[in-house]
Point group: D4
Chain length 150, copies 8
Amino acid sequence: MPLVGIVVGSESDLPLLQPAQDILNQLGIAYELKTISAHRQPEKAREYALTAQQRGIEVIIAAAGLAAHLPGVLAGWTSLPVIGLPLARGELGGIDAFLSIVQMPPGIPVACVGINNAKNAALLAAEILALKYNKTQEACQKYRQEQAER
Amino acid sequence: MPLVGIVVGSESDLPLLQPAQDILNQLGIAYELKTISAHRQPEKAREYALTAQQRGIEVIIAAAGLAAHLPGVLAGWTSLPVIGLPLARGELGGIDAFLSIVQMPPGIPVACVGINNAKNAALLAAEILALKYNKTQEACQKYRQEQAER
Amino acid sequence: MPLVGIVVGSESDLPLLQPAQDILNQLGIAYELKTISAHRQPEKAREYALTAQQRGIEVIIAAAGLAAHLPGVLAGWTSLPVIGLPLARGELGGIDAFLSIVQMPPGIPVACVGINNAKNAALLAAEILALKYNKTQEACQKYRQEQAER
Amino acid sequence: MPLVGIVVGSESDLPLLQPAQDILNQLGIAYELKTISAHRQPEKAREYALTAQQRGIEVIIAAAGLAAHLPGVLAGWTSLPVIGLPLARGELGGIDAFLSIVQMPPGIPVACVGINNAKNAALLAAEILALKYNKTQEACQKYRQEQAER
Amino acid sequence: MPLVGIVVGSESDLPLLQPAQDILNQLGIAYELKTISAHRQPEKAREYALTAQQRGIEVIIAAAGLAAHLPGVLAGWTSLPVIGLPLARGELGGIDAFLSIVQMPPGIPVACVGINNAKNAALLAAEILALKYNKTQEACQKYRQEQAER
Amino acid sequence: MPLVGIVVGSESDLPLLQPAQDILNQLGIAYELKTISAHRQPEKAREYALTAQQRGIEVIIAAAGLAAHLPGVLAGWTSLPVIGLPLARGELGGIDAFLSIVQMPPGIPVACVGINNAKNAALLAAEILALKYNKTQEACQKYRQEQAER
Amino acid sequence: MPLVGIVVGSESDLPLLQPAQDILNQLGIAYELKTISAHRQPEKAREYALTAQQRGIEVIIAAAGLAAHLPGVLAGWTSLPVIGLPLARGELGGIDAFLSIVQMPPGIPVACVGINNAKNAALLAAEILALKYNKTQEACQKYRQEQAER
Amino acid sequence: MPLVGIVVGSESDLPLLQPAQDILNQLGIAYELKTISAHRQPEKAREYALTAQQRGIEVIIAAAGLAAHLPGVLAGWTSLPVIGLPLARGELGGIDAFLSIVQMPPGIPVACVGINNAKNAALLAAEILALKYNKTQEACQKYRQEQAER
């Protein structure tokens, strides 16, 4: 049963999510990967967020470019932690996605990571899960150590 | 019965909407004014957008600051024209609201006007309604003429 | 007789307008396409805007890059709704066109869509016309539904 | 007979033009000062530009904030040198006016000076006139010298 | 024993943290509050991060302005989740702090929230702890509900 | 004898100046072209500016990228009109050159044109010279007309 | 005999330099303070830079706002280390001064510190002199220690 | 024994440092080159900075992209002059690295040079060392002269 739900706004963004999947695989964290547009499929986005917790999801990673409402929209429908991953699409290098994700109004937080930094989105999810799951904590610490030694 | 639905993300932004109300009053266009947070009250936002058309609303003006998802969220739930009005809140002078409103993904448009420019949001709504209502068209043309002469 | 007038500032920008034409074709909305420079051909731009309404045009889509005055200039000469489409030309990724289009002075609105987002310019035009033409409304709703199901 | 035509987009911007008037007075250059909105009064703007040269105007200083189309619009109607003065209005500190003025398309130049820098707009006009009028040249050189000694 | 460690880079920033403390108090989450400069007191910052986990801290909120290295520096020394709160100090409205916090290199994540948005930093910490502590989960859900009804 | 002095900060920028040369050739305006670095060859830059007027130069076009001090430095040494042409070099698309050129302190003006817009730099020079030389005025007006008809 | 030369572009900026003077006084480093405009007084700026070394100056701190050419201009005339201090003047919060100072062309370096951060300009000067003067090195280390303990 | 310590945040950035090495070689200044990540290897970064002075290093050049904490982190552990070299990595052209490096808090200075401008980082180091070492001063002056003559 997946603990992390990765949601991406558009099929064409899927390759940018590969580093997140690699990290979760490496750390032994089960995840699911869905393509849902917050604007073209608002009902599907709502459904996903409203049922995530009961399906066992504990952390959501939501990736989007341009106006990038997806993370905020999901965060409005669920109180699970939502990690927002801004993607660089179009002409502005991701600054648009960036501001749309991080400048959430007081009351509904989103945890923003760097532009196109899918790896850090996954590592942040892992660090959050590590508070609860010893196996993940050990995997995280091992990862850190190996990273420092590389 | 109101033709224009003005929706604002936060009570504290209401004063910024006054110029829009003044224009609509001056041009004789009926409107309603609601405070709905796209993130704190996603169900209410959805309800508003899904029922707007059957309640006779023809144009929506949605005003928000910061991540400013409100116009885009409403546009996702309805195919009525949505005018997005970015408000300058916080530290970035409205650039965040601006990009969040205008950089909508292909498929779901929002009509963005200038930062804090509630007057133009209302005039744009009037110009749209003027295509259909002769009375509004006359009011618009009279407004333009008087404006040019001032 | 065309309902939508697409005007573009420079021949070289024509390919960027193709997605708008595709949408209008798909939704069965008649349009015309003109190349007019607001600065190099100010008389032609004036003529176009002053005669648009009597020629049956109901919505203007004006696309331009750099200082991108075209939408605002047309909006000054007509009270038809003008949709401004900022194009990314030169070195600034369209931010220049963006600000030049959206920051219109109070009194003369332009409806700005995203950078290079010709598709949304056309969809916004369609949503506006859908208020008046049932056929367009049906086409818009069908488009939305199919888009959600894709 | 004025040699310099100062045009400003809005009554409320008049105080920002005072330093330009002071410089022109100090250097003994005759000027006129008009308030014309490029968008709300396009016919008046066109008229002004088309008749400027025959009325003896040799340099135009056009000041505007926000989308700031005024300098570019005038430059489209006349081949007199147009100096564009971006004014800081609204929330973006004049960056919007700045880009709208300076990023003119190839073919129609505008000479942009710094944000709110009315003094430099006037000095630039003076330097241009100094090429032709010895009296102005002497006044400019005297001004420079005194400035260096201050 | 505190579960959340709030660290702020400078005494003068303490008032900006009050909304975070209010939320944590309201949700019944124990926290500690320290002032540590990542640059002026690097040894103290290192010490804090290296001992946080064994002292029972589960989430760190690190607030800083300007170059705002504090969140990233702490994240380098610990694998606890670090929430970065950019503060608007100096002349750039917090954009400097923003980029310094969110653009962390792949391998060491920081969870960035909006500029000066201490409330969301605390709510994000609460959502993370809610995965593990039922009492916090209930408090979070109650908070959300009341917020929607306000 | 050249009337226009084109100065460029670096050999590698020479190709970007070709459109300026083409315009001046087309309009029959004599010019000279020099490569002078304001920083690496400050004495040469000073010499150039101090002697320009007596050598018959009436307008200077100074092109530079990055910190782009060249136009301002020349303007400090001469009271001839200096047109600053910002070039897009390095990673910031010319915004650095742009601000360095246009934000001159009160007292020493530079006439800034658009990024990489060498054509407009030359046209502006021509418009300035047209005030004095009938032949240039006729050439400018012919150019405008042909441009409008293209 | 002063080791540090502080130069500021405009009288009105003098108060912003006080923190630099305080630090130099505290660390026992002799300095001089001059007001020289790079553009209005280019000869004076040249003179200052060309004679600085023989007068015993070892480090120059040059502060300026807007186009902020002063540090770069001085650096072009001398090979002493020049520290550039961008000041926030006008409407852009110092970003203009910032880019004008730091984006120097390859070959002539300027050491840029933060906007309005006169304190760091002085500390950097002290760290440079500390390489050569034991007394300064001791003063710097004492300052650091006290700062960490505060 | 090296006088200059070049530290770079990531192996992949090494080629960008070549121009710095070329300059130091050309000027006859001994240097060392290390790859240390401020975040992935904080202990190694601390060690490097704490021992630099006793190993004879007099100036540190620290190069990093993205959040670019490396120069500031090293500057926190040592009072040697640290030159920060922002690298353009990711989508923002180095503006993120730029602000993270230059906007250091009062008390711990970093000397920032231009984006990717490794050459100027090395020349600045040389100018600093030239205050103390006659051989370096002569090499610097010769370099300047040859550069002016090129």
